[in-house]
Subunit: 418 residues, 2 copies
Amino acid sequence: MNIPTGFKTLTKVDEALKLIDERVTHKVEGYEEVEISEAMNRICYEDVISPVNVPPFNRAAMDGYAVKAEDTTSASIKNPIILKVIGCIDVGGAAGIELKPGCAIEISTGAPMPKGADAVIPYEETRRINEYIEVYSQVHPWKNVSLMGEDIKIGDIILKRGTIIRPWDIAVLASVNILKVKVLRKPVVGVLSTGSEVIEPGESIGEGKIWNSTKTMLKALILEDYGIPLDLGVVEDDENKICEKIMNALTKCDVIITTGGTSIGRSDKTVNAVKRVGGEIIFHGVSMRPGKPTAMAIVKGKPIVMLSGFPVAALTGYQNFVRRVLERICGIKFPPQPRIKAKIDRRIASQLGSREYLRVKVLRRGDEYIAIPLRLTGSGLLSSITQANGIVVIPENVEGYEEGDIVEVTLLRGVDEY
Amino acid sequence: MNIPTGFKTLTKVDEALKLIDERVTHKVEGYEEVEISEAMNRICYEDVISPVNVPPFNRAAMDGYAVKAEDTTSASIKNPIILKVIGCIDVGGAAGIELKPGCAIEISTGAPMPKGADAVIPYEETRRINEYIEVYSQVHPWKNVSLMGEDIKIGDIILKRGTIIRPWDIAVLASVNILKVKVLRKPVVGVLSTGSEVIEPGESIGEGKIWNSTKTMLKALILEDYGIPLDLGVVEDDENKICEKIMNALTKCDVIITTGGTSIGRSDKTVNAVKRVGGEIIFHGVSMRPGKPTAMAIVKGKPIVMLSGFPVAALTGYQNFVRRVLERICGIKFPPQPRIKAKIDRRIASQLGSREYLRVKVLRRGDEYIAIPLRLTGSGLLSSITQANGIVVIPENVEGYEEGDIVEVTLLRGVDEY
């Protein structure tokens, strides 16, 4: 009889993260070259250097008249200086004409400065009288002019290796006429469900079976985190079969996620299977709730994250640990999740020594946010996931909160008014 | 001579948002039916009702023995009760066997409860002696049992109309064997660049021309906000041509965004063109920086947002106003952007009465975040966009910040250690 004994020791969440940082050494390598319109949320593979200046020429930064600054010396409303308007440069055209001393050229914002001019006087500081203008103030050289290369110079690094490319980065690439960019290959993340009770959605259900929801969720999470999910299917609680699946997947994946089979129990085979294929367990059992039976190993240099089979527990494990693994192997840092302060609307108890992830419904009442805890029981409680729009993290050293306490909430969705 | 006069009045950002809420009445209608794996970040079109119970049967919530609770009455370590083990139910199998009084059936977590049993005693509360167990504690009916429908009942609403579908929502759909879901048609957002100086990336540049970066960025933003960008091309500063482009696009788009031509100047034609096609201007000129020359109109019931041609100003206008328009026409609420508190590392001046969006570089030093303002000049300054990982919003009634002041930063990317 294999009587379970529970976890002998539990690893704290922060220790587990430290272990990931220390022990995960695999790196995603290789690149693809993609059109900039396809580059969103991809990881920049190498420093990108600008081939051009932005702006590409000295250009007017205001609508008005291009002048030689020294021609405006000591101009004022009482003593305006008169200049002759000898032409007009529209935006989009070539400058063409050259400015002569004592003259001015009408110019639009964005138009190239004519030769001989070094400043723009805005309309507001002038009055037009037929072919002449009165200039009411003095301008300094290069006033109201955007200088060539002022924004970006030829040879400037415009995008650093390792940047997650966002829409404004694409704008910068377009502005220097770069149409393709090298991006890091996407990490391939295998997802294997274990559990003799698990069948795929769409299959007809028999007694004792449940539809697999955790794998579908994990694949969506991986996609959102810029990875390629590789569906490794479902395998029953059989160590040999789990071993085989993992061995086959190792060469194809940068990371493997398994679900189920990590508790200390009769049907919990995953951790044993991972050990049998040479896995070095780096932690097994984490002092968090939900998600206590989370484990991690390195097999042939690749990280394997073993999550609970219960969807809410798997989600907590994914968000804590898989995302950190992805950051490590891709050399990136995900943007943080949004957080707000809210007033908790009822007393909440928590277990000392364990970090708890409490799902809450946040509402807004005037300037105040109210967090309503959803029922806690069971890491499988799917309904709490869809009702919740936030998570309150209760640290290990806190026994809970009293009604009215201000807590920090990580937001999963937008917040409605009361 | 068409001498510009500047904006007569500027609309405050909050007023502009209120005007959007009041005046934008167009709604995106119609749905698509998609596989749940394709449903991520789509908008749920109708309430989704569960066709099944979750769990689908009463199941063991712990590893141990299924018993009749009343058989354990007053069991204790000193006075254990002896039950005969008459079988074993593994997870994934049918219960099959029926529990008789005075008996117990070994059971795994997740396995279906046998007929006659109403509680599970965990291994820890028992000792196995051949075909018998000693039971050391009393259990109450339904202890350690997940009841059929405890999580989700047949007929429960599992996903509300208007929800932006997230990975955990997909899990819930999978768990009740729903494979396809009706989602709102994606909003079609047309993007038209105006400006005689603007050419498309890839085209060879002539004097006075610049490559279009703003449109490329806006298309990426629209994609990320779950819309379909429709590229309406570039049109020179010609009212007739702008009118024609807008008229052609109106029937195909839910929203039109234009860039350029909204200042009060010689070459700024967009607002006039929109008026000529029957556009009712709801604001023109906003007291914000960058992005002052932002305008909005309703044409034949469709919203048109006219943004600055400068990428940073267009981005500010997009994030403030286009996202709000998308929320209105789709009936959704985007999740908030992440914010942190940071200490500003140098004095920053701001114009009273104007809301300023200051790009900053945020670094982490120990437990503290430091925000380093990037240079402010010019709304076209692309380099500030890629260097920044955050934005400080300086409200209208604040004249600026002193070095060391704590400010709220909206984060655009992850934060590095110092």
